[in-house]
Every structure is written in C-alpha cells, then in structure tokens.
C-alpha cells in the first residue's frame, strides 16, 4: 500500500475526489437540513436529470459515515484554508522526511478510498441479506438494498431508470416497499430503437422532468438542462481522455496499481459526481491535467512492457485487489466500464436542441450499442472496448447471481477467440475479499500466458 500512497498524494485532484466521496455525509446533511435541498437517490450513471432539476443526486452509500471521515474532515478544513494543492504537497513533503505518524496518515488516505469504501460495501451487502434479499442475487443488488434499508429514508426521491437487467428493475420496484416516503421517479427506456421509440422515451423523460418539478416546486427550463449537460460533457471528455490517452498509453503518470486505483475511484464516483457536478468537473479536469503534466515532465513509469489487462465488469462488484495482484504479476489492469456501456458519450447542447430528446438519444444509444438489449450486442461492446484499449488480455468478473452480464461470458469467450485472439479468463466473484487466494491463483495462471 505504501507505494500506492506515495503515488497518490501527487495528485491533489484524486485527494479531493476521495475526500468528497467519503465526506459526503456532512455535505449531504448540510444540503438537506440547512439549505433545504432535495436529495435524490441514483444508481448507475443516471444522475443528469437530478442535477438539471437542482436537486442533489446521491449514490446512497455516501450517506453513511465512514470510519475515518473525521480525519478527512480535518484535511478538508485545512484545504479550505490553504488550498488542496498545498495540503497535498505538504503531506508529500513530510512523508519524505520519514515522520512516521504522518506517513501513517498518508497511508490512511488510501485506506479511506479503498478499504473503507469496500468495507462499507460489504456492510451494505450484509444489511441487504439481513433484510430479506435472497443471497442468490449479485453483490451489487444486495449492497444496493442494504444502502436503501440503512439510509434510503433520508432521500426525498429515487430516480429509477429501467435497464435490461430484470433483477435490477425489480430492485427498483422494491424501493417503495423498503421506504414508503421517497417519491419514485421512473424513466422506462424502450428495449429497442424501433419506430418512434425515441419520441416515446422523450415523453418518458419529459414526464420525469415534470415529476422533478413537482418535487422541488420549481420549473426546470431547457437551458438549465443544457447547462448541466455541458458540465456532464466536460466530465465525460476528461474521463474519456484519461481512458484512451493515458490508460492505453505506454507511459503512466504513476505506477499501474495506483493508476487502477484512480480509475476505480472514478468509476464509483461517476455515478453521482459526488453530488456536485461542477466540483466534480473541476476535479476530473484537473486530474487529467495533472496526469498530462507529469507525463510531460517524464515523471511516472514506462509501462510499455506490461501487458494491458482489461478487467471488466467491475461496476456491480469486483475484487478490488485484482489490479494490485496483476501489477505484482507484471501487468496493468485497465478499467473502463462506463465507456464500454456508452455512458461517456456526450449529449448535444446546441441552443435549438430539445434537451429531453437529446437525453433520450443518449440513453437509447447506450441501450442499443453499449448495454445492449441482448448478449450479442453486449459482447460486441466488450470486444470494441478491448480493441480500442489495445488490450492484451481480458479478465471477466463473473458475478455470482448476475443473470444479465455474467451470462454472456460463453458467447464473449467464443467471440474473443474468433475475433480478437487474446487470452481471456473468467473469475467468479461473490463478495469483496471472500476469495482472494482463488483470485490470486487464477490471475497467476492467467498472467503466465504473457511470459
């Protein structure tokens, strides 16, 4: 971990994103109680309308108090006085002096991001099961149920967007049974783009906008929606640049394990932009800048001889130690789930456009060509992504209980063999940390193929 900690403090933007993720509870409390804002639970990167409506989207785990948030609050307070760059530079400086206590604190930053979040995810998983969700469902759903059972009553509404996964859609239905208070706002995405399906989806989105207006009591203008899309587009652009220009390149601004940590952090936080789109945009844009700056200065690591291992899917639950293990075995793990699912596509914002319709096109494109209404399309997305990343191998996390994505593996394996001719393997996953040894063994055998 120390190596990773050493690296990460060089990126103050990462520190900020991590802080905003873990210190979300205080921010959300302030928004809800002091500023009387409406909190809206979101899952997967579908927060756009909530932002456009001037509500506060929240991925529900962020309403929890994290064990070390007091320490992070201190860092946050210091940063508000001295600025984040100075705080992170200071931490880096004193770490180099070898002051143990401070060194430990620096390591704690990483603990915040990785271990604490994962521990909390596992805690949510347990709460989900204790509250009646069958153990047969995937890690993601069990954790989501746990989040809503424990904190869902704090939100004013849930934004429910249907996708191809029937278990997920039923989970969305169950939210009104878990907590009776929050308003349920639905967007049903038609499974296929046939006939005037875009028009129908536009109607569904307009209806959801109306529901948001009822929730807040304010009118939502087209300009408001476009303004948010512009911010979202900047976030997506920076995210894509990091994926394609940096993660697929041969020189990294840090060691590959750290890089993967950062990508994992982005994957988690992209769902609700840490509840503040502008702040998140500023952070991810400066993250890209910091990375480019380091690369320009030659600070970082030549990774040209390290095979690129595309690790996916990870958004519904994966073993977070994987990238460290892959790194120790001489490879580098690439994460790009949201791009694979076409959720990093920009939304047109020209003044004459109808934002509801543009959002409908965005969602439909993701459904048709990213997530896919069937496994043929979904597996094509995996292939496209592996090709675009120039991946040397693919690790597929087969989630126990996932009937949507995990079931495509046999088709995916066949297509990879026929079309990409790169090594691939599936690793079964149930709960974080549950089968580390097995993951190590599987990854060890897999990485042998590159020697």
């Amino acid at each position: 971990m120390s190596l990773i900690a050493d690296e990460i403090i060089q990126f103050s933007s990462v520190l900020r994103i991590a802080y905003n993720l873990l210190a979300g509870r205080n921010y959300l409390k302030r928004k809800k109680f002091r500023e009387k804002e409406k909190l809206v639970a979101v899952t997967l990167p579908f927060s756009d309308l909530a932002f456009a409506a001037d509500t506060i989207p929240v991925f529900p785990i962020r309403m929890h108090e994290f064990e070390i948030s007091q320490y992070l609050t201190y860092l946050g307070s210091a940063s508000s006085i001295f600025g984040w760059n100075r705080v992170s530079n200071f931490l880096g400086f004193i770490r180099k002096l070898g002051i143990n206590e401070v060194s430990k604190i620096v390591d704690d930053i990483i603990e915040d991001v990785i271990d604490v979040i994962n521990k909390k995810y596992n805690e949510m998983y347990d709460i989900g099961i204790e509250n009646g969700i069958s153990t047969d469902f995937c890690y993601g759903l069990k954790s989501l149920v746990g989040m809503h059972v424990s904190k869902g009553s704090n939100v004013d509404a849930c934004l429910n967007v249907t996708i191809r996964c029937s278990a997920y859609n039923k989970y969305l239905e169950s939210l009104q049974a878990i907590n009776k208070g929050p308003k349920q706002i639905w967007i049903d995405i038609p499974p296929r783009n046939i006939g005037n399906a875009i028009e129908l989806l536009t109607d569904n989105i307009s209806h959801a906008i109306k529901e948001f207006e009822d929730l807040t009591g304010n009118t939502i203008t087209d300009n408001q929606i476009r303004d948010h899309f512009k911010i979202g587009n900047q976030v997506k652009r920076a995210y894509k640049n990091i994926i394609y220009d940096i993660s697929a390149s041969d020189f990294y601004p840090c060691n590959p394990a750290t890089f993967s940590e950062i990508m994992a952090l982005l994957s988690i936080t992209f769902q609700d932009y840490n509840s503040n789109a502008t702040r998140y945009r500023d952070n991810i844009v400066s993250l890209e800048k910091e990375m480019r700056e380091r690369i320009r200065k030659g600070i970082g690591m030549d990774v040209s001889n390290m095979p690129r291992i595309f690790v996916t899917p990870m958004f519904g639950g994966w073993e977070p130690k994987s990238h460290e293990i892959i790194y120790e075995l001489g490879g580098r793990a690439l994460y790009a789930d949201w791009e694979l699912l076409q959720l990093l596509e920009e939304i047109p914002t020209s003044p004459n456009s109808n934002p509801a319709e543009e959002y409908a096109r965005f969602l439909m494109r993701a459904t048709e060509t990213g997530i896919g209404c069937d496994n043929d399309k979904l597996t094509d997305s995996y292939l496209r992504m592996a090709r675009d990343l120039n991946a040397d191998g693919m690790i597929f996390f087969q989630l126990f209980g996932c009937h949507s994505i995990s079931n495509c593996y046999s088709m995916l394996r066949e297509k990879i063999r026929n079309e990409l001719e790169i090594p691939t393997t599936a690793i079964t996953f149930n709960k974080i940390g549950e089968s580390i040894d097995q993951v190590k063994t599987r990854l060890g055998a897999f990485m042998e193929m590159f020697k």
């Binding site: 469902f137 191809r164 038609p190 499974p191 569904n204 209404c373 496994n375 087969q398 088709m411």
Partner: protein, 379 residues
C-alpha cells in the same frame, strides 16, 4: 421420468402441422407473447414449458453458469441433453427472443444461436404508462411485419380478429377448468396439455369438463386448499405431487401456467368496437396487471389480488386457504419480491410459505418437510 406419451403426442401433432406447411414458432413460456398474431400468420405458437429435473438443468452448463434460474437452464437442456427425448424441437422454424426477464433473453438467444434456429425479436416494456403501451404496439407492428415477410403476404385485420376470438374462446373454456373441483394435479395436467396444444385442444377441454361434471371426483376432506403463486409448475415437475402428498391441494394456479394466461380475455365489447386488432393486443397487455414482468406496481397488484381471492374463499368456504409462493431459485422477479410479498400478506393475516427450490432431486425431502409443516400449521 418424463411424460413420454405427451412427448410422443406432441411430436406427432407437430409433425402433422409441418406436413400441412405450418411453421412452428417457439418461445419461453410467459404471458406477453402475442400468440394470436403468430396464429393469424399461420404459424403454430409453441410454448416451451418443460422443466423439473436435474438432467435438463445440468445439460445447460456449457452455456450458462449454474446460478441461473432452473427453468431457464432447463430450456437450454431441452436442446442440449443427450440422448434427446425432445425430438419435436427439431421441427421448430423460428425462436422468439423476448425479455420477460433477462434470463429469457439470454436463453432464447443461446437457443437461436447455438441450435441454429432463426430468431424473431419481441421485447416488452417494463412499465405500463401511455408511452409503454405505444411501444408495445411498435413491437407488435415489427413482429407483424417480420411475419409477413416470412409468409410473403399481409396479415389481414379479419384474420387477426379471428385468431383473437379463437384464443379468447379457448381461455374462457380454460376458466371453466379452473373452476372445477378436482385435484390440483389433474387440473395442472389438463392446463399443461391445453397450453401446449393451444385452441385446437378446446374440444378435449370441453369433453373433460363434461366428464368431470358427470363424474364428480371426491377430494379428501382433510386436504388443505392452497393458492399457488410465483413461478409456474412446468411439465415433468413433481412439485404438485409434493404438495398433495403433504396433504394440500392447489385450487388456484396464480402463475403463467394458470390464471396469468387464461385471465387475459379481451372483452367482447372491445373486440366489436375496436377497428385496429393490434390495439386489442395492446389492451390485453395493459390489462395484464398481475404478470410479474411489469414495474412498479406488480407487488401492489399481486397483494390485492391474493387478498381478494383469500377473502372470497374464506367467506364462501369458511376455512383457511394456504398460499404457497413457489420460487424457482435465481428467478429475478419472484425471488426479489418474495420477502415483501410474504410480509405484506402476513400483515393481513394470510400465512405464506415462500418455497424456494431448484429442480434437483436431492432437496425433495427438505421440500416435503417444509410443505408438511406449513400445511400442519393451517389446521
């Protein structure tokens, strides 16, 4: 193990259909496929409704992980098991890929792709608002156009109305079967055959109804009446036997194979006044509020349906009615809602047994014990 005579009969029946030039379209059994449209195009709609044993489940593991619903696994097993008892599957011309649940999509896609059966798509929206109903019509139009391309001619409104009427009449007769006071296993056997053969089985159904009325069977007075909800009991599954051996008798099948199917009757007034027959199919979809596919009101509708049935039953019969929620392991829809359904019904004083299982023989003893204990409690 299997109902060999049924397999042999259906094979002969389908062969005869093929010799008449009829094309066979298969799909996983669920309640939103517009079989009237398939029928109007001159196709025979074949519902895959077999499952219930280890062999079929295990035969699917080259294609799907074992953590997939046992029925979905079994559907693949029908095609991949060796030696294959389901020879009639070779007669299938088209397979409908639909999204009742995501396993439906995966399995249908696998069957079409790996067993070389041409694919037709029919996707169903999840909600039931105005836009969803319009989308459902788009899917109907798309399927209609694909079918017309295959047959090389237009499906006329008259032909479609004729098919709608045919299936309507068939379902009305099935409703009468539902009302018969016979053993659940007998009723289920008839339902299986009827839903496999479709309206051509109607004369047999009518004969059966007449026979039962003339020769009323006696059901043990000590048996406990049960409403079965959740997942269907498919052909070759011994679940109904386990319930009867435990002292229960299913009097109402609130499942795809059962009420979800035959309750979908389009009212005569709509048939007589609606000019576009596709709108009638949209209406049928709209009215299918008890089907488990839809969100967000499935649970609410299901609770009120069961509660109403329960109240009527206890008022008329003066005794308790058991509710068994049959959950096939890894079923997305039924499993996820099961604890909520049980809690809500129990709050209303209705005792529910959530009975989760796959098709392995090994758990037969455990299931029997649970069923017996539940029925014992109903005394």
């Amino acid at each position: 193990m299997d109902d060999l005579s049924l397999l042999s009969d259906i094979t002969l029946f389908l062969k005869e259909k093929k010799s008449e030039g009829v094309k066979i379209v298969a799909y996983l059994a669920h309640d939103n496929i517009p079989e009237e449209l398939l029928d109007a195009a001159g196709f025979f709609p074949l519902r895959l409704m077999f499952g219930g044993n280890d062999e079929l489940m295990d035969a699917s593991h080259d294609f799907l992980p074992p953590s997939t619903c046992a029925f979905a696994q079994s559907c693949i097993g029908l095609f991949s098991t060796k030696p294959n008892l389901f020879k009639f599957l070779e007669l299938i011309d088209y397979f409908i890929v639909s999204n009742h649940c995501v396993s439906d999509v995966c399995v249908s896609e696998i069957i079409s792709r790996y067993f070389n059966i041409s694919r037709l798509n029919f996707y169903v929206p999840y909600t039931k608002n105005e836009s969803s109903l319009k989308y459902f019509k788009l899917e109907l139009l798309d399927l209609k156009s694909k079918l017309e391309d295959i047959i090389g001619t237009k499906i006329t409104n008259e032909r479609l109305i004729e098919s709608i009427n045919k299936f309507n009449q068939f379902k009305k007769v099935l409703l009468k079967v539902n009302e018969l006071e016979i053993l659940g296993s007998e009723k289920l056997k008839v339902l299986h055959r009827a839903m496999l053969y479709g309206p051509e089985f109607q004369p047999d159904l009518e004969k059966f109804i007449r026979y039962v009325k003339e020769n009323p069977s006696s059901i043990s007075e000590t048996s406990k009446d049960v409403l079965l909800t959740g997942c269907s009991i498919f052909i070759n599954d011994n679940m109904v036997d386990l319930i009867e051996e435990g002292g229960g008798n299913i009097i109402f099948f609130d499942t795809w194979i059962g009420n979800h199917y035959y309750s979908q009757i389009i009212d005569d007034n709509s048939i007589n006044t609606e000019k576009d027959p596709l709108e009638l199919l949209v209406l049928k979809f709209k009215n299918n509020i008890y089907g488990d596919h839809s969100v967000p009101n499935f649970l609410q509708h299901k609770i009120s349906q069961i509660e109403n049935y329960y109240q009527d039953y206890t008022k008329t019969k003066g005794k308790k009615l058991g509710v068994i929620n049959h959950i096939i392991k890894f079923c997305d829809h039924i499993s996820l809602m099961s604890s909520f359904l049980k809690d809500r019904l129990q709050e209303k004083g209705i005792q529910v047994l959530n009975l989760e299982r796959d098709y392995s023989r090994a758990n037969r003893g455990q299931l029997s014990t649970r069923i017996e204990a539940y029925l014992e409690m109903m005394k």
